[in-house]
Every structure is written in structure tokens, then in C-alpha cells.
Symmetry: C2
Subunit: 338 residues, 2 copies
DNA sequence: CTGAAAGCGCTTACAG
DNA sequence: CTGAAAGCGCTTACAG
């Protein structure tokens, strides 16, 4: 391994000077700087980041803790964060928290042991108190999909209410009044907020809400399938399904297809998230586009802005994001008899 | 930050002794060991991994370089590697190489700068020479989905020929003789090997192969859709489609659906990989199950076996894997008139 | 069984 | 503008 001393020797300067040119430090003569730089290049020297991290008491890396890398929604987040961080020459550690408080805490601690400069956390299971606790320990804790008042400037979240309101209204504008709502059975904020948005839209249009029309299940393909199956058994009349997310929507569509009910001819369906499947399904799903890229950039910028050269004004970074309607093929406009 | 010196002072021993109990080192009296351990626990001391890595000239982390975290197939690989590594208390760095030789090399170098102990690489764009070059620089370079003779013991790959042969034969056994092959247009080994397997199966059953029936496209949903569209224009007769992978298969199924051709009634379709979509589509896709979990475990074991306590015999780790047929709903058995 | 000392490869006051 | 020196938090021969 070639070290800073080797360069110093070869260049006939002190290690301190080499270090200064490496870090674009001040007070190095132009000539000497060029000379040293040439030797660095010639010998292909690469600084040992571990040593640097030790003296600086901090590495040039950030950590990311998400529930599962495997989940396509999360994978996209991780991908966008990593890609943006890499552009700015910062290394990213990605860890899974598996939706378990203990495991998330463990992941954070491991990251801390590795002296990351910042952690971007996506947690739906930690309490506000847990997170506030960690925000005091972690050098720079940034949160995605979470809004905690006291650390608001480190939070990036989506306006679930407005988004759910909008997609429901989209259906109402298409003439639908008989709804089914397929909700997630996870005990977190998002399902509640989205359901509130749904209720809000119905109310705004004077549509009565019968709680019989909502079913809860795991927010995945199977869950959507199960939930709609339970609805069907109730023998209700409906023309539109609002699902908690795309996966549930797609699960419902598939179940309906199996029993001979066509989407969108017989029933319209909308999802939420706009995951990759949404545009590859039959029919292509109308849904709310989750601004993952924008959120990832905002969060990563906040995570790294303190240790990179950046001309981004913090004040310009948005914290609350509103998804947009992507209207594809799963919604039919009703022509009313009345 | 609480350091080893703080513990030493509190326990009235030398830092060396603390270090020894931390590392389960030899030659520490049981009493003293217990005493020191208690102080460590009480104070909640966590060793600084950066410092340790510096003196050991190597961290307890491994690096993973994959084309894209975002790709569900790759995300699964990354997930399985990370999860297995975490079980053994080793931290994982995940980087994207973006299918670009320069970027992959960059990712590897960055990982090296961070003193990872091993790198698991999934590269389809580097030449054998490039990889052999890196295998000399990287402490322990492990390859997935690649088989390079001279570093065979570090390689883990799939028998594409056998797998493709098997799934094609599955179709032949169901009575199909008129095929279409939708291939990837990537200039890498896999498409060639799988196509050879397809040809091999036809030959074994004396079925004539007209090269007119193969079309090339990007190995994604759109590509499958494009490719089958080109086939349709040729006005060929066929009852079965063998696709390079699930995404192309699904793209083809969707396009056929749009023009009113039903799978599997009118045409049977098989994929390859068994990605998550394959079991959530309409119809559920018959495909070859890629043993990602098993391969990830084998690769990770090889990557970390040298620095963890492990009773796994290296000789017991398989290197070549054969996918299995998963028969779902996209293949129809033909009852022949003849 | 235990401790004092050297050293891993850097950075950064400090002094000049 | 430049260098000698100290130190980041550990581990590990070496000596006893």
C-alpha cells in the first residue's frame, strides 16, 4: 500500500504538504502543489479513507436505514439516494431495519460505529420519542416519510391527505359514487391519513360513507386480493375501488379478473405510489405518483450539505411533497343515466 | 465519545487488557475479564470501528457492486447478501455500477479506499481480463453470475443452458412445436447461453428452428412488448413463446392482451428468473426460478468466511446452480389432432 | 496473565 | 509557504 509518506519522500516535501495538496488546503505554493500532484497521479496514490476518518472523527459516508431493500418502493429510494450521493462523492451504507424497532436501532448503531456523517432513516415503527432520541445521538439524522414537529427541518414527507383526496375526487369527477376502500392494516400514520383524504373527498361531494365498504389487509398484492374477496362476499354494489397502494390495487384487480370482473369495464380501480408494476399491469394502473426522486434528493442534500461544497440554499429545499395523479387505464368514466 | 482509555481507567487496567476482552483475546484472567466486561456494558461502550480498521488494515465490512439496486432482481441479490452478512455481524456497502466499466471500477476503488475485506461483484460489462486484474488487487473478490476459469473458486453462476433447455422441453412436453424466442439484445453471455439451451431442446426433439422466429430487444417489459410486436408483423404461426426473462415475457403477454390474444389460451408463454412480478401477473407466469437466495448465501459465505468464526466447509459450497421450473398459469397443454 | 510502547495513515494546530 | 510533532482510537508484538 502506498502512503502519504511515500509521496512525501518521492516529492521531497513533508507529509503535511502532501496532505495539504490532497485536501486543496491553503498556503501551498502553486509550483510545489503541481509537483506534488504529479507524483500523486504518477504513483496512483489513493488516500486511506479509514485513516482520514479516524483523525477527522467522521467519514465521508452516510448511512441509509430502510425497512427492506427488497421492497421496490424502498429500493427506488435507496437507489436515488445512493446515486445522488455518489455524484457528490459521498459513499452510502445501506442497511435494512426490517420494520423492527430493535433492528432499526441496531442498524443505526452499526452505522454510527462506522462513523457515518449522517443517517437517512425511513422508519414507520419507531415512536417519535425514539427518533428524537436518536436525533440527538446521530450527527445528522434525516427522516423520510415522517413528519415530527420538533425536528421538522430534518423531515421529508408526503401530503397523504391531499393526495388521497385528489385521487378520490378524480374518481368522483368520472361519475363514481359507489366506493370500496382497501386499506392497509399497518398501525402507522399513512393508512389513516390516506383514509381521511378519501373521507374528506366524499364529504366534499356529499357522498355518504358506509363503513361497511372498507376492508383492511397487508399492504401487498395478496392483501389486496384478500380484502376485495371479503368485500365481494358482502354483496355490496360499487363501481370504484380506492386502494391504499398499487400493490393492493393490483391484487384486487387480479382477484376480480379471476372471478370474471373486468377492470375498468365493470369496476374502476386506483392505486397509490406509482411503483414500476403500475405501468406494466393489465390494465395499466391509474395512481398517485410518489415523488421518490425529488424526496430522495431533498433528503440527501440535507444529509450531505454540511460536508460538501454546495451552493444549494437550505431554505430552497421543500419538505412536504404532494403526489400527482397519473391517469392510465384503470378508471372508466361513467355516463350517468340520470 | 467514550473510548477504550475511559474503560481502562474505570476498570483500573491497561487499554491493552480492555482490548483483549473486547476481542475475546487470549490470556486474560476470568475475574478481570468479567470485571472489565461489566464496565464496558455499564458505560455502553462501543468500539470505534474506524480505529480498529486502521490498525488492522482492514474493516469488518464487505462491498457489493451490482448494476442497479433499483432492478428488482438485483435488489433481491443485494437484500440476501446484506441480510446474511448482517447475521454474521458484517456490515455491507452496496454500490451501483450502472453497467458501465468505468463506473464499476470506480465503485470498486471507492470500496477499497474504505478498506472493505471483500467485494462481491456482479458485472456483465467487464472483460475477463478486467476482472482478473481486480481479483489481484481486491483482497477477496467474489463473483456472481459469472464463471471465469482461472478464478473459478470465487465464481458463482447459473447453468443457463440446462435451465433454458428444461423450460423449452417443458413446453415441448405440453405439445408445443411452433415457437417464438424473445431474446435480450445485450452483448453478454446469458442471452447466448439461454438461446443455446433453447436450440438444444428443439434439436433433441427434432424440431426445426427457423431463425425468423427470434427477435432481440432490451431485456425489460417494453422490450418484450416491442419484440413480440415485430414477430406479429411477420405473420408467423406459433403456439408458444420462450422469453429471455420474466420482464420480456410479461411485456409480450401484455402486448398480446392488448391486441386480443389471450395467454395461455391462444399462446403459451414462459419466462426466466421468477421475479416477484411473475407470481402477481395475469396470468401467473410459468418460469425458471433463479436461486438467488442460495447463490447470495454461497457468495457471501465465501466473501466473509476468512474473517468470521464459521464451521462451514468451503468444499461444501456449490458454485454452479440450476434453476427449477415453476409451473404456473401461462402454459397450456395442447391436445393434438394428430 | 498484564502493561508500556509503538504504530496503523492520515490531519492540523503550532512554530517559523 | 512549509515542516516537525502530536494525536485520532485502537491492536499487538515485546517484555516481564
Amino acid at each position: 500500500m502506498i502512503t502519504i509518506k511515500d509521496i512525501a519522500k518521492a516529492a521531497n516535501v513533508s507529509p503535511a504538504t502532501v496532505s495539504r495538496v490532497l485536501n486543496n488546503g491553503p498556503k501551498v505554493g502553486a509550483n510545489k502543489r503541481a509537483h506534488v500532484q504529479k507524483i500523486i497521479d504518477d504513483l496512483g496514490y489513493r488516500p486511506n479513507l479509514t485513516a482520514r476518518a479516524l483523525v477527522k472523527q467522521s467519514s465521508g459516508s452516510i448511512g441509509v436505514v430502510i425497512p427492506e431493500i427488497f421492497d421496490p418502493f424502498m429500493a427506488k429510494f435507496a437507489h436515488e439516494i445512493e446515486s445522488y450521493a455518489t455524484q457528490h462523492d459521498v459513499q452510502t451504507f445501506i442497511s435494512s431495519g426490517h420494520n423492527d424497532v430493535e433492528k432499526e436501532a441496531m442498524a443505526i448503531n452499526k452505522l454510527l460505529d462506522n462513523n457515518v456523517r449522517s443517517i437517512i432513516l425511513h422508519s414507520k415503527v419507531m415512536s417519535d420519542e425514539d427518533i428524537i432520541h436518536f436525533s440527538k445521538i446521530v450527527p445528522n439524522l434525516v427522516l423520510i416519510n415522517r413528519n415530527i414537529e420538533v425536528i421538522k427541518e430534518k423531515c421529508f414527507w408526503v401530503d397523504n391527505y391531499a393526495a388521497s383526496f385528489a385521487i378520490t375526487e378524480h374518481l368522483i369527477n368520472a361519475g363514481h359514487t359507489k366506493f370500496v376502500y382497501l386499506n392497509s392494516n399497518y398501525d402507522i400514520e399513512d393508512p389513516k391519513e390516506r383514509f381521511e383524504g378519501f373521507k374528506g373527498a366524499l364529504k366534499a361531494h356529499n357522498i355518504h360513507l358506509d363503513f361497511n365498504i372498507v376492508e383492511y389487509a397487508e399492504p401487498f398484492h395478496e392483501g389486496g386480493s384478500d380484502a376485495i374477496q371479503r368485500i365481494i362476499k358482502k354483496d355490496l354494489t360499487f363501481t370504484a375501488i380506492v386502494a391504499y397502494n398499487d400493490q393492493m390495487a393490483l391484487g384486487a384487480i387480479n382477484y376480480l379478473h379471476e372471478i370474471g370482473i373486468n377492470t375498468p369495464k365493470a369496476v374502476s380501480v386506483v392505486g397509490f405510489d406509482d411503483v414500476i408494476y403500475a405501468s406494466n399491469s393489465i390494465p395499466k394502473l391509474s395512481t398517485m405518483h410518489y415523488p421518490i426522486t425529488e424526496m430522495a434528493i431533498a433528503a440527501t442534500t440535507t444529509a450531505i450539505s454540511e460536508f460538501i461544497d454546495s451552493d444549494i440554499e437550505k431554505a430552497d429545499i421543500p419538505h412536504c411533497f404532494t403526489p400527482e395523479i397519473i391517469d392510465r387505464d384503470s378508471v372508466k368514466t361513467l355516463t350517468l343515466a340520470k
